[in-house]
């Protein structure tokens, strides 16, 4: 209680609330621009934090992270372009809703879910930092490999009509993830002499290419003189009935997001895909998933915003930055002489209390900021189609170039867009491919690190309790999805027989 009162006093007497709201607003803007990742949005603010007091600086950076994780969903829903990696799972149903003229509703669901996920993650951060930190510390390369396999296990659910094509798309994604320096020996693979490829291909380039550029390619052939989009230019929060329906996927998303957040390196992308998969598994409206399901927007959005809060656990407890954004935050802590670890909670308790209060304000402010910014975004996507597509193309070129100031990256996005168009034509789904790209490096590097540790003995995976648990859950996911597909196929065949007879 005394900490709580200290926190409120900090909020009233320092520019903490302003930093929280300003950071969240800046983060939303950064996250909404393809190419400006949460880490870039944070890094751009870093020089301004030198003159601030430590608490305000840390709140500003963390609030930017929270805002950016939410902001990624805005272009995902409106223009089929995930602003951040973690928003990739939101594209499927969010953009489908937008195409049905329900973009305002999808944005309302994503905003509402983001706030709930953020608050849940924050509560877990405050209440369970110590036990959650122990979970993070217990992770070995074997556990990370198993975590990657768990992420890949949802492929069957994301494969759409054809499991074979879904698996093939995932393998294509895994192949893309092998481009660059080998994770163990460092030898270049599939770089064809291009130094730009030595660091691998960032997943965001593939995502923007597959989703956004291929959509522009595809839409360029539509003959209908569709001068204006049919989206209702009004932000709509979910009704009471819809809120009840969304409760289950939001709870699943919150739980998945909490645990994925505390594992350094796991991040919001795996969390949002697993949450999407689980929401679909437990939904009473499975058939709506992929066609514009509100639950398909709520689950991943809750999960990746819960991650934004719980991802601070390994940073604050051990100084382990699990992502680029966490690394920037760690930089912010170190600039102000704050050394992460148990002593941070004892010696700088006011910074931690201020951080919690600042994050609380930042998460709540998403509602107000969203209500202010989203109508403008909806207005923008209702402009004449010729100009809208022209501006999206220009935004993609500018945003992608701004990541590394590289025209090579723009070329990769165009190539990925071409591949995406061909994938559409032959019916290969995008999401398994994205999952392969995102998880490929995690799986390979940790598989091989584990084998180095064991001298090539695969039994090492059976000696790690976390790996066993995660692999068991992955097996259950795979068997469950395959069983469900088989049941549906039998059901469909019976229906066809009924029709033909």
């Amino acid at each position: 209680l005394s900490a709580l009162s200290d926190g409120f006093s900090l909020l009233l007497h320092t520019p903490l609330a302003l930093a929280a709201i300003g950071g969240a607003g800046w983060g939303i803007l950064g996250g909404a621009l393809p190419g400006i990742s949460p880490s870039i949005a944070m890094a751009l603010l870093l020089p301004f934090t030198y003159g601030m007091d430590p608490t305000t600086a840390i709140v500003l950076l963390s609030a930017t992270y929270v805002g950016a994780e939410y902001g990624g969903s805005i272009p995902a829903i409106l223009i089929n372009t995930p602003g951040t990696n973690a928003a990739a799972a939101t594209v499927l149903d969010g953009y489908a809703l937008q195409q049905q003229g329900r973009g305002g509703e999808a944005l309302g669901i994503s905003l509402y879910s983001a706030v709930l996920g953020g608050l849940f993650g924050l509560a877990m951060l405050v209440l369970l930092t110590e036990p959650l930190a122990r979970v993070a510390l217990a992770f070995t390369p074997m556990s990370y490999f198993a975590l990657g396999i768990l992420g890949l296990s949802v492929i069957a659910s994301l494969s759409g009509a054809s499991l074979i094509k879904g698996l093939a798309a995932a393998v294509l994604g895994l192949m893309v993830a092998t481009v660059g320096s080998d994770p163990i020996s460092g030898v270049p693979r599939f770089t064809f002499g291009a130094p730009e490829l030595l660091d691998g291909i960032p997943p965001i380039l593939i995502m923007v290419g597959l989703f956004a550029v291929s959509e522009l390619f595809y839409q360029s052939s539509s003959t209908a003189r569709q001068l204006r989009s049919t989206t209702r230019a009004r932000l709509r929060f979910p009704s009471a009935a819809l809120r009840r329906r969304l409760a289950r996927p939001q709870l699943l998303g919150s739980i998945v997001g909490t645990f994925e957040g505390v594992m350094p390196g796991a991040g919001g992308t795996i969390a949002s895909f697993i949450a999407y998969n689980e929401a679909r598994r437990w939904s009473r409206h499975k058939e709506e998933f992929g066609q514009g399901s509100p639950e398909g927007v709520a689950a991943p959005e809750t999960a990746n915003n819960a991650v934004a809060a719980t991802a601070l656990v390994p940073v604050l407890s051990f100084g382990i930055p699990g992502s680029n954004s966490a690394a920037v935050l760690l930089g912010g802590l170190l600039i102000h002489g704050l050394i992460p670890g148990p002593q941070l909670f004892e010696q700088n308790a006011e910074v931690i209390t201020g951080l919690y209060m600042g994050l609380f304000v930042a998460v709540l402010s998403l509602l107000g900021l969203g209500a202010l910014m989203l109508p403008a975004c909806l207005w923008l996507v209702n402009r004449p189609k010729a100009y809208l597509t022209a501006f999206i193309y220009a935004l993609i070129f500018s945003g992608i170039y701004s990541i590394e100031q590289s025209l090579f990256d723009v070329g990769i996005v165009l190539a990925a867009g071409t591949a995406g168009l061909l994938m559409r034509i032959v019916g290969l789904p995008f999401l398994p491919a994205i999952l392969g790209v995102v998880l490929g490096y995690l799986v390979e590097s940790n598989l091989r690190r584990s084998l180095v540790l064991s001298g090539g003995d695969y039994r090492i995976f059976l000696e790690d309790p976390i790996a066993i648990a995660l692999l068991s859950v992955a097996c259950m996911f795979i068997l469950g999805s395959l069983g469900m597909r088989a049941w549906r196929a039998v059901h469909r065949n019976k229906k066809i027989e009924g029709v033909t007879s």
């Binding site: 092998t178 064809f192 390979e444």
Partner: protein
């Protein structure tokens, strides 16, 4: 992609399996070029790529088999197929997409010479014209305003150095 009938769907699967086989073979050949390192582990730098190539080839063969079976079952399946109307044809899709891709490639090639503001204005106007807009003055105004807006945001506000003319 008008793929209403089962025959077209089967054709699409056959094309897909052929493309996947080609990717698997090319990727495998490129994987054999990966040099071996003394620092390598049991699996080596080629290990997983080779496995991925084999897996993709196997999936392509499975898809081929499934598509062939689909041809045999065509009559049965036709009853349950709902034709997909209102989607553009593959040929037209590819032709139109090639134009959009061409605008993108032209941007990448030209931006080091003409600089970001002019190049991005050219992209906006070219795309608008390509999408059927015909009001020249309006196109020019929107392109100039758009380019100034993008340049102000990225260069001035974010401080990101966008391509200047004649940098290459």
């Amino acid at each position: 992609v008008r793929a209403g009938g089962t025959a077209l769907r089967v054709l699409r699967d056959l094309a897909c399996s052929a493309a996947l086989l080609w990717v698997a073979a090319s990727y495998y050949l490129a994987a054999t070029d990966i040099s071996r390192s003394a620092l390598g582990d049991e699996l080596g730098a080629r290990g997983l790529p080779t496995a991925y190539a084999a897996l993709l080839a196997a999936l392509a063969v499975l898809l081929l088999a499934k598509a062939s079976l689909g041809l045999l079952r065509r009559r049965t399946a036709r009853a349950a197929d709902a034709p997909e109307h209102g989607q553009p044809r593959v040929g037209r899709t590819l032709r139109r997409a090639a134009g959009v891709l061409g605008i993108g490639v032209a941007y990448v090639l030209a931006v080091p010479f003409i600089g970001y503001p002019i190049a991005i204005a050219a992209v906006i106007s070219a795309m608008a014209v390509y999408q059927g807009e015909r009001r020249t003055v309006r196109i020019a105004l929107v392109a100039i305003l758009g380019a100034v807006g993008f340049w102000t945001f990225f260069e001035l506000l974010l401080g990101i150095p966008m391509p200047a003319p004649w940098t290459s």
